[in-house]
């Protein structure tokens, strides 16, 4: 039923591909390649890069740590009101990131509803710290992982889990030896997705953590602040951002696609 592809359509396809890749291509073209080394070795650049890498990797791992049990719970639990819980879990995905940041602030800020007790009792103040950056990223990114992994748990064969039970395996053993390996591609895809989200996150981090160079300023924030000061440097930073987010995602595309 699928029609053969005429050369003209291939050209159209190529143009379409070019169109969607336009932002990337044009940024590549404009990067000041000759000064690249100098610019990348500047302290402000290095700081932003390191903070971004550090926070986004921690955020992706935390998303996995909390997200996978959450996904398992959503996929297999018979608890009533599960659909309500799922909606709560998906909300951050559709929430504008700045609103997410404000929400985090109202909860964990120094006058926040939980934050005031954290401050009074433990002298802990979360906003405008690197921990806050990680929290904002987890808040925004984790739902993507949860949804991907939950779908995988749902699709995986419950018959295999039953069989393992009849062979003498406890529920925890079944989870680790049967369910988890079956969902592994989706979990890897979910981590990649969460990581990409964390890396590019702007709205929630800037409201909850602020943009303090060397402390909470991540790559996207640095790019934004540099645009009006030194746009060439901001281009270089974007290049780094593109390289790590798109590059790695593209490299693991096969797994990433099957997880969708």
């Amino acid at each position: 039923m699928k029609p053969r592809v005429s050369p003209s359509l291939k050209i159209v396809a190529a143009v379409a591909a070019l169109f969607v890749a336009l932002p990337l291509v044009s940024i590549f073209v404009r990067v000041p390649w000759s000064d690249l080394g100098d610019m990348l070795s500047q302290k402000s650049t290095r700081d932003a890069l390191l903070i971004s890498l550090q926070t986004s990797i921690i955020a992706a791992l935390l998303s996995c740590l909390f997200g996978v049990p959450l996904a398992w719970f959503l996929a297999r639990s018979a608890t009533r009101g599960l659909s309500v819980l799922r909606v709560i879990c998906i909300t951050p995905m559709v929430l504008p990131p700045v609103v997410g940041g404000i929400a985090l602030l109202t909860a964990f800020g120094r006058q926040g509803i939980l934050g005031q007790y954290l401050y009074d009792w433990f002298n802990v103040s979360l906003p405008f710290t690197r921990t806050a950056v990680v929290m904002a990223q987890v808040f925004v990114a984790m739902p993507f992982l949860v949804l991907a992994v939950e779908a995988a748990f749902r699709q995986s064969d419950q018959g295999l889990e039953d069989a393992a039970r009849t062979m003498g395996a406890s529920p925890s053993r079944v989870f680790f030896t049967i369910a988890l390996p079956a969902a592994r591609p989706a979990i890897i895809a979910g981590i990649a997705l969460a990581w990409a989200r964390s890396l590019g996150e702007f709205g929630a981090s800037i409201t909850f953590a602020g943009s303090f160079p060397g402390r909470t300023q991540t790559l996207p924030m640095a790019v934004y602040e540099l645009v009006s000061i030194d746009y060439r440097l901001s281009l270089v930073l974007s290049l780094v951002l593109i390289f790590i987010s798109v590059g790695v995602l593209a490299a693991m595309r096969d797994r990433w696609m099957t997880g969708q």
Partner: protein, 322 residues
């Protein structure tokens, strides 16, 4: 061969300690995530209702945003009207620009090309969704804006007699037009992936029947796929709208925020709630902070409504096609 579906198991077993521990860890992990998320949603509502009590309903209808000044004895005044309207204008324009691309991309990917090329193009489209917003913003600001300003000037020259294309001053940079072009590109991946999904479920037998009756491929698509996939298209576009409404950084870079209600889409003045929050949050005093939170709540409610509508429509579409 057995037609009885196995019933849901009820496990009332006395389990081993290790299992209890496992059960506990899973439940605790899951519940802690729930609790945190639920609390956050609740807190936002709580705090914002306070704010609305402070500013009154004027907050929605007033367009002035002034933190006040002690020296000039100006009272602070906060209103979100211009920003809210700006958000809606920019997002709506983005939808209008995106519609032909979304339809074209979805139909093209589903009905006009081979599997191999489709895989490549779909990967690129998915990758677009993973590109950080700042990249789109930067591209819009550095690359697109000079061209777009030029296009806007031409439109203004020939169609300036239409009120929305008129401008007060001849500055076409950072207009709603530019911002919506950038947003258009950003919502393309999500909108077209939903639309394509629904298009792909169009009943093959009806398409074949249309061919049998002598329809061309476009004829078959128009007669079968488009009516069938309408709800998918609407749902996908609404999801894109939800994303466009919440976009912060790309709009912040490509739109000049002006606190006045305006409908001139080519002029270098517009509004956007998300950008307002991000740009003012750092320097805001306590009262302005409250106002920004309230603005956040307004945006939250707006996107929630849009996404809710989208999920209902998409849900109905996927149910009716199963």
């Amino acid at each position: 061969m057995q037609t009885t579906a196995p019933e849901r198991r009820q496990i009332t077993a006395v389990s081993r300690p290790s299992d209890k521990a496992f059960q506990g860890v899973v439940t605790a992990g899951a519940l802690s995530a729930f609790v945190v998320l639920a609390l956050i949603a609740g807190f936002l509502f709580l705090r914002s209702t306070e704010v609305f009590r402070t500013f009154g309903f004027d907050f929605i209808t007033r367009s002035k945003w002034d933190a006040g000044s002690v020296e000039d004895a100006r009272a602070p005044q906060f209103g979100v009207a211009a920003m809210l309207l700006g958000s809606i204008i920019v997002s709506t324009m983005a939808m209008i620009f995106a519609l032909p691309f979304v339809m074209g991309t979805s139909l093209f990917l589903e009905y006009y090309i081979s599997r191999r090329i489709r895989f490549v193009l779909v990967s690129i489209l998915d990758l677009m969704a993973a590109i950080p917003s700042i990249i789109y913003g930067l591209w819009g600001y550095l690359v697109l804006m000079p061209y777009a300003s030029h296009w806007a000037a031409s439109i203004n020259k020939y169609l300036g007699w239409i009120p929305i294309f008129a401008v007060d001053r001849e500055n076409f940079d950072a207009s709603p037009f530019v911002a919506s072009l950038v947003l258009c590109l950003m919502i393309l991946p999500i909108a077209s992936s939903v639309t394509r999904e629904v298009y792909s479920r169009a009943p093959q037998d009806q398409i074949t029947a249309a061919y049998a009756l002598g329809a061309s491929r476009w004829g078959a698509i128009r007669a079968v796929v488009l009516p069938f996939g309408l709800s998918g298209l609407v749902g996908g576009m609404l999801l894109g709208l939800g994303r466009a409404l919440g976009e912060t950084i790309a709009v912040l870079l490509t739109l000049n925020l002006v606190f006045a209600v305006k409908f001139q889409v080519l002029a270098s003045a517009g509004g956007n709630v998300a950008s307002l929050i991000a740009s003012r949050f750092g320097e805001a005093g306590p009262l302005e902070l409250k106002a920004l939170m309230a603005a956040g709540l307004v945006l939250f409610v707006l996107t929630l409504l849009v996404n809710f509508g989208a999920s209902i429509i998409v849900g109905r579409a996927s149910r009716s096609t199963k």
